[in-house]
């Protein structure tokens, strides 16, 4: 088997919170021992509820924030030890698309300017830039008449096209897309999802696709990792995960998706209680206070993330 494009090994990120003078320092373990691999050309979906650590994971992989420990291996090279300059070079191959392009597109700059930035940063000579920008704009469905305009003059969908163009500028190998369609209306969302799929084919892109929207991930991903309170608790091929979720939390999540078919009645699992605070997660299995299948062992022992039935799952139901 080929080496995967990206391997994330035992990645941890702790944020220091509660920093008052007399307060004990406390931590949010936002990403907790995450192991995932992403193969070249595939889309790995990351799903989970707000605050479970999806964005933090994405940012750590690109080292936009520094992980606390763990390894990030990109094309066989551990990038955690890279110096700033080498990391900067590597960013040609690894790019990010954000949820709200408006926040990340400087309102004082024209589109021309925004799209030139990555080219300048990577030393592309001026004479080549214009052609590259125009070509990329057309690829994402805009054109050069848009170049002199500012981000706020565009609709949400167009802004996301600009965000994608910026990420695509240097023809990266990996794009980490963090909720790229969550801020968009359904009719626009499908345009952008189609665009992302076309680009993947055209440029053999690999995606790490982060979303809280399960039906979007079901559509776009090849494999899916489900996160809960900083941990990946199940990872499987899309079809397997959606047809037969194994982890009780995955089952809950899938059962909660509202469906547009008035005749398709599904068995809904309604959880009691809220997501526990990530700075004070439960002992044992972090899902145990909300789990209907909870056993004694779950309250004290953390279930290992191991293979069961050809997929990876962290639940004591499958460890015997």
């Amino acid at each position: 088997m080929k080496t995967p494009l990206l391997q994330v090994k035992n990645l941890n990120k702790k944020f220091l919170v509660g920093k008052g003078w007399f307060q004990q320092p406390s931590y949010v373990h936002a990403v907790h021992g995450v192991n995932v691999t992403v193969n070249a050309g595939e889309t790995l979906g990351i799903v989970g509820e707000s605050g479970c650590g999806k964005s933090t994971l994405g940012r750590c992989i690109l080292r936009l924030i520094e992980p606390t420990d763990g390894e990030i291996v990109f094309e066989g090279q551990n990038i955690r030890s890279l110096q700033k300059a080498d990391m900067q070079k590597l960013r040609r191959d690894m790019q990010m698309v954000f949820q709200n392009p408006f926040d990340t597109l400087n309102p004082k700059l024209t589109i021309q300017h925004i799209l030139s930035e990555p080219l300048i940063a990577h030393g592309i000579p001026k004479r080549e830039r214009a052609a590259m920008i125009e070509e990329t704009l057309e690829i994402v469905g805009l054109n050069k008449s848009h170049l002199s305009r500012y981000a706020h003059e565009f609709s949400g969908g167009q802004r996301q096209r600009i965000g994608i163009a910026r990420a695509l500028m240097l023809r990266p190998k990996l794009i980490i897309a963090d909720e790229p369609v969550s801020a968009l209306d359904v009719s626009i969302q499908s345009q952008i999802l189609n665009l992302l799929q076309d680009l993947q084919e055209q440029f053999s892109l690999t995606y790490l696709f982060i979303s809280h929207d399960l039906s979007v991930v079901e559509h776009i991903a090849d494999r899916v990792a489900v996160m809960y309170l900083g941990e990946v608790i199940e990872l499987a091929k899309k079809e397997e995960l959606f047809q037969r979720p194994m982890h009780p939390y995955t089952q809950t999540l899938l059962s909660a998706i509202p469906i547009t078919d008035p005749d398709e009645k599904k068995e809904r699992i309604i959880l009691t209680g809220d997501l526990p605070s990530p700075s004070n997660p439960p002992q044992g299995c972090k899902f145990h206070p909300r789990c209907w299948a909870c056993m004694d062992v779950c309250k004290t022992e953390t279930p290992p993330f191991t293979e069961a039935d050809g997929r990876l799952v962290a639940c004591h139901l499958y460890t015997k």
Partner: protein, 329 residues
């Protein structure tokens, strides 16, 4: 059955920089006792403005025309003082972002008691008892503790539950919920919708559910209105609307949802984007994006007409069906 709410020709106009534009155009809506009516549409189509208009909570630069009858009384004739007596008691609203409507410096208990003491004339002890009941009713397990908490210490799901408790405290006849679960995670959304349905059944309350999510509509509503660019473009019972949509926009919307694309590689998509209220096109407002556009569509905005027994639709494709009750738009 009698209508709790009858809205006729509701038109809301905003003026900005000496220019006026209609954000809600000729909305007609009836809600029966105990019924749930959904209003769906993309952002900016006028859903929130329509609901704020019904509550008479618009900002100063907005003006309302038409008729809004709640149990036969025309709300547009009421003074602000009279409206204050009705809000919360007869008609209540839940907002998308609960923090905007919770007072950050008052405990949950205080905020909930206020309405009860004002509208129902309860004393402290009575209102406290009732608040604890309400919190339990909306699925808050540690009601006694939450009673003393401040809003910012609660999670999004808990705040939304508190909002629901507050909205139903005085048993309103009609509850308007504006995207009550849009900001929430799916598992929490499922909890909240479950609570809302249960309470609606218990109180025999009518509900207007405003959302952009067809899934939420399918789960909670009896009837649906689809809005596009300030106008209702289709209205039908839920099953008919989802099973056999009539308007090209509704059809496109249903086909665009990833869930309905099972197995297909590409999603259906509607070209273009929603126009802003000051740029609504002259003819059919959907014409620039419509696959079935005809010459007439570019000239005249079609009226909302009955297509058959089940559906009303605003589209020139159904010109022949026009004999029946015209509600012109």
């Amino acid at each position: 059955m009698t209508n709790v709410l009858e809205v006729t020709g509701l038109t809301t106009t905003f003026s900005r920089n000496e220019r006026a534009f209609k954000v809600v155009d000729n909305l007609c809506l009836q809600v029966k006792r105990g019924e749930s009516v959904g209003i769906v549409g993309e952002s900016g189509c006028g859903k929130s403005v329509a609901s704020l208009s019904m509550m008479r909570l618009l900002s100063k630069n907005g003006s309302i025309a038409g008729r809004i009858q709640l149990n036969g009384a025309d709300l547009l004739r009421y003074s602000e003082k009279e409206m204050q007596k009705i809000r919360g008691k007869e008609i209540a609203m839940i907002f998308q972002e609960p923090m905007t409507s919770l007072n950050p410096v008052l405990t949950i208990g205080k905020q909930l008691s206020e309405g009860l003491e004002k509208h129902e004339g309860m004393n402290r002890v009575q209102s406290r008892q009732r608040v604890l009941e309400l919190l339990t009713q909306v699925g808050i397990s540690r009601a006694n503790e939450i009673y003393h908490e401040y809003p910012h210490r609660l999670s999004g799901g808990m705040r939304q539950r508190v909002m629901i408790a507050m909205a139903i405290a005085c048993h309103p006849k009609l509850l308007i919920a504006d995207e009550p679960t849009t900001a929430l995670d799916v598992t929490i959304q499922a909890q909240i919708l479950d609570v809302m349905k249960k309470i609606q059944r218990e109180l025999g309350m009518s509900l207007i559910m405003i959302t952009h999510d067809l899934g939420v509509v399918a789960e909670t509503c009896d009837r649906v209105l689809v809005m596009y660019a300030g106008q209702v473009i289709e209205a039908a019972d839920v099953r008919t609307l989802l099973r056999s949509p009539k308007h090209p926009y509704t059809m496109g919307l249903i086909k665009s949802t990833p869930h309905n694309a099972k197995g297909q590689k590409r999603l259906h998509s509607i070209a273009g984007s929603v126009p802003a209220p000051d740029h609504y096109p002259k003819g059919c407002r959907f014409a620039p994006r419509c696959e079935k556009v005809m010459p007439v569509c570019l000239e005249q905005n079609p009226p909302l007409l009955d297509v058959d027994q089940q559906s009303e639709c605003r589209c020139w494709l159904y010109r022949e069906n026009r004999e029946s009750t015209a509600v012109n738009g």
